[in-house]
């Protein structure tokens, strides 16, 4: 393990009276795939939004690539934002653009590629993420849920980011597609040295892709470790999570 690529220290999040996180610490290292799990409503997606700067934490600091986001100028921030990408839970594709145009959006914004190259590269990313090429000319509303997720993945990979945030990437996918998705994540993280921050409920995805798992609970990161280490922890929620029939088939 090398230097941490993301460092979260003493994070506190509060919405009105409702405290979501308190004293939350988390380190994510370069090249690893970390899965964040936890009960519904424990603030997994909120944590993700705070790391990428969509939400400002009430207190505490988030350091990405060695820079503290809240202290950066807009320009430096943009330079950093270009090095990561986010795949949102329901895709968040631009609905007035075709899939190919969606994938080309980040390229248009941040590179000086010619239209032809962007077009070809977009097609490459689309087929990499497992979509048939005839989907490239369709609007997101004409695609199924699973295909939308893959299109969102293609957009997230458009600029070859160093760090990818995936929010529930396999939720709502059929097992075959989900399996392919897992191996795609694995392959890319191996090939490109991608660091992956994964929020998921899918035990198979955890097993197939994650080097480490972070368990959120009681407003902080309760445990981190490999799948085996975490599954042996004596905690009621963790035991129920891994001890259920679905969990047993993965761990056991």
């Amino acid at each position: 393990m090398s230097d941490p690529i993301i460092q979260v220290r003493g994070l506190k999040t509060q919405f009105g009276d409702h405290v979501v996180h308190e004293n939350l610490d988390l380190d994510i290292y370069r090249g690893e795939t970390i899965g964040v799990i936890g009960p519904s409503g424990c603030g997994k997606s909120v944590l993700l939004s705070e790391i990428v700067g969509l939400l400002t934490p009430t207190a505490g600091s988030v350091t990405v690539f060695g820079e503290t986001l809240s202290e950066l100028s807009d320009r430096d921030r943009q330079a950093i934002e270009r090095r990561w990408s986010v795949m949102f839970q329901d895709g968040a594709l631009f609905s007035n653009l075709t899939v190919r145009e969606n994938v080309m959006v980040p390229m248009k914004e941040h590179t000086n590629f010619s239209h032809d190259l962007m077009h070809d590269l977009a097609d490459l990313k689309i087929s990499l993420s497992g979509l048939p090429l005839n989907a490239a000319d369709k609007k997101p509303s004409e695609l199924s849920g699973g295909m939308r997720k893959r299109a969102a993945m293609a957009r997230a990979l458009a600029l070859d980011p160093e760090l990818v945030f995936l929010d529930e990437p396999t939720a709502g996918l059929d097992p075959i597609t989900a399996g392919r998705f897992d191996s795609l994540v694995r392959e890319l993280s191996r090939l490109l040295g991608l660091t992956v921050f994964l929020v998921t409920h899918d035990l198979d995805t955890l097993k197939a892709t994650c080097d480490r798992i972070a368990v959120l609970g009681d407003k902080r990161v309760k445990y981190t470790g490999t799948l085996e280490e975490v599954s042996r922890i004596d905690d009621p929620w963790v035991q129920e999570y891994f001890g259920g029939p679905r969990g047993r088939s993965v761990v056991g």
Binding site: S95, T111, F113, D120, L121, L124, L133, A136, D160
Partner: protein
């Protein structure tokens, strides 16, 4: 590019990443090889990612290597081989350039399509109006089935909350009429006292209710269409249907009823404040005392004018509510159609309000009222 043992070898050096290849691209596209490269030397290659690998691959393909043929790599590189394999062998779609020749046939086809679309739209609107009216009448016979919470919510949001802006607008229009009237009457007849009649007629018959209608078309139409449209986009309307709830009953009828109740009240408010605007100007600028103003309004501007104005309010209410709901239900899955429907809703409503007002004017003229 050089030759080793009679085989062409391509040397790639430096960083080939998404940050750097943009400037290389044009050169690469122009480059022509003397011979088909058989091997690629990656020993001096720096950082590489899929964009870089893709460009290397394209270069080789353009150089004459068949798409599925694997080339040999010389030298060691951590990712090059795997990345080149990843980007090779992907199917490439031929770019189809859509050409649109302009011809008389295309023109006719467009006109035809447009006409058919217009017909469909007209039939669709009529059937929607029919369905909405029928459902509303049915519900009026069984008042306990009406969603009163929803009715009152819409009455507050689209009616009560619009009162300040409607009154304000009408107040100023009343002032403007009084000013213009005073100037004109002074110059032509020298009788400014007729300003009272002018303000009374204009505000009661036309401005009070038409201003209300146009303001509602802007304010309420956009909000109704956006509300119903986003529900349609998020499949909430489909969910209602599967739960056995008629969307017309749940969404359209309450809006129609609320608008039918509130529009006359708003028009009344607008008429009063319009008159007040006229009264203020008459008092301040023309020395017509408020008492004289009110007496003249009561005695000379007959009450019929007021009823003529108010009779249009329920019709405008129906125009606003029906068009807004119909356009909302027409929204498809994408954001653009929501924007289109909202625009259409406001534009159609304003247009129809003016047209309906003109029809009323002609009708009352023929009737001699």
């Amino acid at each position: 590019m050089d030759k080793q043992n009679g085989e062409a070898v391509l040397h790639v050096e430096g960083d080939w990443t998404v940050k750097t290849v943009g400037s290389l691209e044009r050169e690469i596209r122009r480059a022509r090889f003397e011979a088909t490269p058989q091997r690629v030397d990656v020993s001096a290659l720096g950082a590489v990612d899929t964009a870089g690998a893709f460009l290397i691959h394209t270069m080789l393909e353009d150089g004459g290597i068949e798409a599925d043929k694997t080339y040999q790599l010389i030298g060691e590189h951590a990712q090059a081989k795997a990345l080149l394999e990843l980007v090779s062998g992907r199917e490439r779609q031929e770019k189809v350039v859509a050409s649109q020749p302009l011809s008389i046939i295309d023109l006719l086809a467009r006109v035809g399509k447009g006409s058919v679309h217009f017909m469909d739209e007209a039939v669709g609107t009529l059937s929607f109006i029919g369905e909405a009216m029928l459902t509303t009448f049915k519900l009026l016979l069984q008042p306990h089935k009406i969603r009163w919470t929803s009715v009152f919510a819409v009455m507050e949001e689209a009616g009560l909350d619009a009162l300040p802006i409607v009154s304000f607008l009408s107040f100023f229009v009343g002032m403007v009429i009084a000013f213009i009237g005073a100037t004109m009457l002074q110059q032509t007849l020298g009788a400014t006292v007729f300003t009272v009649e002018l303000v009374g007629w204009a505000v009661m018959r036309e401005f009070g209710v038409v201003l209300t209608g146009i303001l509602l078309a802007g304010r309420t139409n956009s909000s109704f269409t956006a509300q119903i449209g986003s529900m349609k986009m998020r499949q909430e309307i489909d969910a209602m249907r599967t739960l056995g709830i008629d969307p017309i009953e749940a969404l359209v009828t309450p809006r129609i009823l609320a608008m039918l109740i509130m529009t006359p009240l708003l028009a009344f408010g607008a008429t009063l404040s319009g008159l007040l605007g006229g009264l203020m100007i008459s008092w301040v600028a023309l020395d017509i005392s408020p008492i004289l103003f009110i007496t003249r309004i009561q005695e000379i501007v007959i009450i019929q004018n007021f009823w003529v104005g108010m009779s249009k309010a329920p019709v405008f209410a129906l125009v606003v509510a029906m068009i807004a709901c119909r356009q909302g239900l027409l929204v498809q899955g994408d954001v653009q159609s929501l924007g289109k429907a909202t625009t259409a809703s406001v534009v159609h409503a304003i247009f129809l309000i003016i047209v309906v007002d003109a029809i009323f004017a002609m009708m009352y003229m023929e009737l001699g009222i």
